[in-house]
């Protein structure tokens, strides 16, 4: 899985590193790291309902921040667990735009063994970087 949870950062919370060969892949990995912090098995989430997410920002970091925040928003506002199917980023647009097609279903503790509620994306050590042609983000979630 192209994300991993970090052990030695932010004792009380959940930190992760998400990677991708393209910036889009990295964003998808990061979204799945967020949902993966809430339920034990992402593959148990069925694509019963589609939700389009669109965000606009002036830089990639804030674009990722807003996008992950949308995943958290749907968990509370509509009790939806979402998995990203397609994602496009237009970095040349002003502001930059992200459009994602996500699919998911209503949270059902019987079928989705719960982990921990994610409260928010924090800005603590938040970073997006491109190294050796690959993309990496580091994120600390408030739990």
């Amino acid at each position: 899985m192209p994300y991993r949870y970090l052990e030695d950062v932010a004792t009380a919370d959940v930190a992760f590193e998400a990677k991708g060969e393209t910036v889009e892949e990295m964003f998808i990995s990061a979204a799945h790291a967020v949902t993966g912090a809430m339920v034990e098995r992402l593959d148990a989430v069925e694509g019963k309902e589609g939700v389009c997410i669109r965000v606009e920002e002036h830089n990639l970091e804030m674009l990722l921040f807003d996008f992950l925040q949308e995943i958290i928003y749907y968990k509370d506002a509509r009790r939806l667990l979402l998995v990203v199917e397609e994602l496009d980023i237009d970095r040349n647009a002003t502001p930059m735009t992200l459009s994602a097609l996500t699919k998911g279903e209503t949270l059902d503790p019987e079928r989705h063994p719960l982990l921990t509620d994610v409260k928010a994306v924090t800005m603590h050590r938040f970073s997006v970087e491109q190294t050796d042609g690959a993309w990496k983000a580091t994120v600390v979630l408030d739990i």
Binding site: Y5, L6, E7, D8, V9, A10, T11, A12, D13, V14, M38, V39, E40, M62, F65, Q69, I72, Y73, K75, D76, A77, R79, L107, P109, P113, L114, L115, T116, D117, K119, A120, V121, T122, M123, H124, R125, F126, V140, D142, I143
Partner: protein, 485 residues
């Protein structure tokens, strides 16, 4: 874990990092801890508390309590007082879970009476008090009614029959921060929270049935004043906050502050999570008004949960809540910013106190403490791990030097990831049951993360607060039943 070489011991329980520790520090950082606790404090605490010391308008010190651990922005266990005229307000000094707090409720039942009914009691509470990821409550409100809740706090509960007048008296600030303005809150925040009143949430949030054993009473007279009068008396403690609503309020304003901190106000911060605005600026005032809405939602949330707890006890023991002596000891907030009057350099002054994972602990005789606690000082509720127990303490006169603030919990010693590798939820539940603690959980993985050894020793933390003169131990409360979100 290495303690910075610059850390100076001031007393047995007070440590300081001088302004020379980091460029930009305006005041020294002060950490309350015993030698043992400080030697194990994680590196994030020293980094974060000294970042706080760089914030404009900070008074005296950037503080960290003995339960301090690595958070985001402020350390957890952090506190900073700002001059409201020259200082800033920062969502990173309050946390996303605005007015996360603790409530303690008495009963006139004893262990012998509760033990035979424990499973039924915990099972019923588990089914009646929703918990876990994204859970919603039993109260159905329109968005407009919810906005009213955010402006009225526990007063709304009183109007709707979910509270007794004395509950409000026993809640910090009467269960309502004045000046909350729902127009400062986004639609998104309302959408995230309007159906979550009466829910516990998850993570370290819990509801616990506890017992006050005679051998765990440290101060009999104060215990009596707080309502602990019977040997092996049963009490109920719970820990939760403002749910998705508060989380979104904090997120919205973090984003706003990210765009103005440096660009508009020329303030440089070492961690973007410390983004802030001058307290007297339009952005600062808007956040303060919105934050108060989240504070009030949390007070209402805990009040509705208390209503449910009373219903459950009443159904299990076939007596009314009044007959069961179910009155509140107190409700304390541990993630807030508040204007309070304190003595600053010899003069009484109104200052803005950020508390993030730290608790107000007003001492004897202070205004703002219910009349019945004027002699003892304010009850302080410090939650420990579900295996080891929690404490009821009282504010002390010595709290003055930290603007009457103390710890809020035992503080994590192990990351969640590490705890999950070491412990298994189901096994832990069996082991705890063998030790007489019956646990129900919405999340086995979450339960493993909350295992006792993942936390600092609460006995050491509260002892440190007492030695430092911040809060004195009244009684240790040990769990017999627990609901984990």
């Amino acid at each position: 874990m290495a303690v910075p070489a610059a850390l100076k011991k001031i007393t047995d329980t007070t440590w300081e990092l001088p302004v020379s520790f980091k460029p930009g520090m305006l005041v020294p950082a002060r950490i309350y801890a015993t030698e043992k606790l400080i030697s194990r404090m994680d590196e994030g605490v020293f980094e974060q508390v000294t970042n706080v010391a760089c914030l404009p308008g900070i008074i005296d010190y950037a503080y960290c309590m003995p339960d301090g651990h690595w958070g985001y922005g402020f350390p957890i266990g952090g506190m900073a007082a700002m001059d409201p005229e020259t200082g800033v307000i920062s969502p990173g000094g309050i946390g996303f879970d605005i007015n996360c707090g603790m409530r303690l409720v008495l009963t006139s039942l004893t262990l012998d009476q509760v033990r035979p009914e424990l499973h039924r009691l915990v099972d019923t509470l588990f089914s009646r008090v929703p918990c876990g990821v994204g859970s919603s409550g039993f109260i159905r409100l329109s968005r407009d009614e919810f906005r009213l809740v955010t402006e009225m706090g526990a007063r709304w509960c009183l109007k709707k029959g979910y509270a007794l007048p004395e509950d409000l008296e026993m809640t910090e600030e009467g269960g309502c921060f004045a000046g909350a303005d729902a127009s400062a809150v986004s639609e998104k925040a309302v959408e995230r929270g309007f159906d979550q009143i009466g829910t516990l949430g998850s993570g370290n949030h819990y509801l616990e049935i506890q017992v006050a054993r005679p051998e765990n009473i440290y101060d009999e007279e104060t215990a009596r004043a707080f309502g602990i009068t019977l040997p092996n008396q049963i009490v109920v403690m719970f820990h939760c906050g403002s749910r998705g609503f508060g989380h979104q309020v904090a997120t919205d304003y973090l984003k706003l502050f990210l765009s103005v901190t440096e660009k508009k106000y020329g303030i440089k911060v070492n961690d973007r999570e410390l983004s802030c605005a001058p307290f007297r600026s339009p952005e600062g005032q808007a956040y303060f008004a919105a934050m108060k809405c989240a504070v009030n939602m949390a007070f209402a949330n805990r009040q509705v949960i208390l209503h449910r707890i009373r219903e459950v006890f009443s159904s299990v023991f076939h007596r009314s809540p009044e007959e069961l002596g179910m009155s509140m000891v107190y409700d304390v907030a541990h993630n807030t910013a508040k204007l309070e009057k304190h003595l600053v350099h010899g003069r009484t002054k109104q200052i803005l106190i950020h508390r993030k994972g730290s608790t107000r602990a007003f001492g004897p005789g202070m205004e703002g403490v219910p009349e019945c606690y004027r002699e003892t000082g304010q009850p302080v509720i410090i939650g420990g791990s579900m295996e080891t127990g929690s404490y009821l303490l009282a504010g002390m006169p010595g709290g003055r030097e930290a603007f009457f603030t103390t710890a809020h919990g035992s503080g994590r010693a192990m990351s969640r990831h590490q705890a999950k590798k070491l412990f298994r939820g189901r096994k832990l539940q069996r082991e705890m049951e063998e030790r007489g603690i019956y646990v129900r959980t919405a999340s086995w993985g979450g339960l493993a993360e909350e295992a006792g050894p993942a936390y600092k020793n609460i006995d050491e933390v509260v002892e440190a607060t007492e030695l430092a003169g911040l809060s004195k131990r009244v009684v240790k409360l040990v769990p017999i039943g627990n609901i984990k979100g």
